[in-house]
């Protein structure tokens, strides 16, 4: 990938931003059922981190995972088709928003269970390195995940066994409606430091800063093998989940939201490019997403007779529900 290239960074945050906005429209129109957890406002983290990765590196995402999947290189058209539950989707319509995966691009999957990805990506990186492959992994996680015991166990394993996984905590201040201050005793970074894992903190609204901090961490990890931790401070611009567009939850004041939205990663990355270049990228992103949405909506839904396809990799077929 093109490193700290400001064009790549801007294009990526812009792509994720517009992808999410288009996806929200499709939630409203009923083309995406079940809703999504929008990544709006946090785009700089996926873009900055993935800019420092190589194609062979692997990432595990979260329930708020569209940005990670796109920044690691998945095709936006296949991703949109997945959200719409179509056969042409990344997961052939079997995963949806919270399970989007693209193994070919190194995306081991978004994961709907908070804190679950860390141990999985640690095992994947360890197993491939045992074969002599030179790679690192990234586990994206929210501030809510740092209170999950399973994740803290994964920190311990990764540190003990020197597995190069970067644990990226996207601290957007809330786990759904629960403020970090009410949920985290001690501090987020101190959890990693307790296992001897080096922790850094970065402004998650600035994609270039995220890239620089990530690149420095990955260089150390590739050299000496162990994990690191990165806390990216950020702000979620929109709802926890699109259900919040219909049901108002009272946990952030309008002032707090306005303040948070004033530091916009798309604007920050865009300000580093000449206006004409920015406009060209914007036009290109619009065209990509226009095609992505059109392709997704034109694609077929899966055949109900195949509902349990892929359940068993061994080829076992399950009994049906009878009748």
């Amino acid at each position: 990938m093109s490193g700290a290239d400001p064009i790549w960074l801007y294009r990526t945050v812009r792509l994720i931003r517009r992808f999410e906005e288009r996806a929200i429209e499709l939630v409203r129109s009923g083309d995406i059922v079940g809703g999504i957890h929008p990544y709006l406002g946090q785009e700089g983290i996926a873009a900055g981190v993935c800019a420092a990765l190589r194609p062979d590196d692997v990432v595990a995402g979260t329930h708020r995972g569209h940005g990670h999947v796109l920044a690691k290189g998945a095709d936006p058209g296949q991703m949109m088709a997945e959200l719409c539950g179509r056969v042409t989707g990344l997961n052939r319509g079997r995963g949806g928003s919270m399970h989007a995966a693209d193994f070919a691009a190194g995306v081991l999957g978004a994961n709907a269970i908070v804190g679950a990805g860390g141990a999985i990506v640690t095992g994947a990186v360890w197993a491939r390195r045992r074969r002599g492959e030179d790679l690192v992994g990234v586990s994206f996680l929210g501030d809510g995940a740092v209170n999950e015991g399973m994740l803290l166990e994964a920190f311990n394993l990764a540190a003990l066994w020197r597995v190069p996984v970067l644990f990226v905590c996207e601290n957007n201040g809330y786990a759904t409606t629960m403020p970090v201050a009410d949920a985290v005793a001690g501090s987020i970074s101190a959890r990693a430091e307790a296992f001897g894992i080096r922790a850094s903190t970065v402004d998650g609204q600035d994609p270039a800063a995220v890239h620089a901090t990530t690149a420095a961490a990955l260089a150390r990890m590739r050299a000496d093998g162990g994990p690191e931790f990165l806390e990216a401070r950020t702000f979620r611009f929109d709802a926890h989940h699109t259900f919040e567009h219909a049901v108002r939850l009272d946990y952030r004041s309008p002032e707090e939201v306005a303040r948070g939205r004033s530091r916009d990663p798309v604007r920050i990355a865009g300000s580093r490019l000449p206006a004409a270049e920015r406009a060209a990228i914007d036009a290109d992103v619009e065209a990509v997403l226009e095609a992505a949405v059109a392709q997704a909506l034109a694609a077929a839904e899966p055949d109900p007779a195949t509902a349990l396809e892929y359940l068993y990799a061994s080829g076992l077929t399950a009994r049906t529900g009878g009748g």
Binding site: A101, T122, L311, S314
Partner: protein, 321 residues
């Protein structure tokens, strides 16, 4: 013919698969020194990279195995206590089992979960004596409960080679068995075995209870001709094998070390009666509903399915009809 113990059979299966396939590795607590004896000698032969002692972090090392399997490794995870499966039920059922479907077939998760010493371990009381195989069958995770040393070897080998997650329960009550086995071979998953043929009643027995069923069948030999069917794999179940047996005998008893409600015995009976007109209502012998095994040995035995109840059930189905 050489005699092989059940425990040694598991050990040999692990050694053979470690030797055959570089992608196989073991994870578990105290497996370097082989506290359960099933990993004896493996550290020396295969080294600490492939015989990995873990900290007491069951949830993380179970999902670590999932991650390794997602990229092509074949981990075998040993659990010291059957109840630890409750702790990692989420990691096995919600992640390992679901990944292939949820990703639209992008991956496989070939992990083997091995529980040496499942079910009652006399004197170990409530939290060490569970036999939760029906839970995994319910979840649709391949589940095997070998009854004999030859099957312990053969099913563990097949579990490791299977592209799906497989839970292997090695009942504590079977671990000390020995049998004459010259050259153990892989045993296909999903295939039952008739241990003893009979004409009057089919007894389906799970795991160590196969030996109780055989003993009872011997005792009753003059009066009732009992066929003993060992499913070996509980999920996927060998329905064709069982239905063939029951179609001949027309009578069915199931003896199963699960708690009664939603235990595998209920599933066996339901499936058979959906497809076969039996000559008498079937019976099952199980642990009681909600069983917690009490400590005192007489109490522990009192809640396990035993020979007396099995004799009673056989007499009952033989009389009816």
């Amino acid at each position: 013919m050489p005699r092989l113990s059940y425990r040694k059979a598991l050990n040999r299966a692990l050694a053979d698969e470690l030797a055959r396939d570089e992608e196989v590795f073991l994870l578990g607590e105290d497996i370097r020194v082989a506290a359960s004896a099933v990993t004896a000698g493996l550290l020396k032969r295969f080294g600490p990279e492939r015989v990995r002692d873990t900290p007491l972090s069951e949830q993380a090392f179970t999902s670590f195995a999932t991650g390794a399997a997602l990229v092509g490794a074949r981990p075998v995870v040993e659990f010291q206590i059957p109840a630890l499966l409750f702790l990692v039920f989420e990691q096995i059922v919600n992640h390992a089992h679901k990944f292939p479907l949820m990703t639209g077939g992008q991956c496989a998760v070939p992990v083997t979960y091995l529980v040496p010493g499942s079910g009652s371990r006399t004197g170990w009381a409530g939290q060490h004596s569970d036999h939760p195989y029906s839970l995994f069958a319910h979840a649709g995770v391949t589940t095997v409960v070998p009854a004999t040393p030859a099957d312990a070897y053969g099913l563990l080998v097949s579990a490791i080679r299977c592209d799906d997650p497989v839970v292997v329960f090695a009942p504590a009550a079977a671990m000390e068995l020995r049998a004459e086995v010259s050259d153990p071979v892989p045993v296909p998953l999903g295939r039952g075995r008739v241990h003893r043929t009979g004409d009057d009643v089919t007894v389906v027995a799970v795991g160590h209870l196969v030996h109780d069923a055989l003993a009872v069948a011997d005792e009753l030999a003059g009066e009732v001709s009992v066929e003993v069917f060992d499913p070996r794999t509980l999920y996927p179940f060998d329905w064709d094998g069982l239905l063939g047996s029951v179609a001949r005998t027309g009578r069915l008893v199931v003896v199963d070390d699960s708690n009664r409600s939603c235990g595998i015995a209920g599933e066996v009976i339901a499936t058979v009666v959906e497809q076969v007109r039996l000559q008498a209502p079937p019976r099952r012998v199980t642990r009681p509903d909600g069983a917690v095994l009490p400590f005192a040995p007489v109490l522990d035995r009192a809640v396990q399915p035993g020979r007396e109840l099995l004799r009673h059930a056989i007499a009952h189905v033989s009389k009816d009809g």
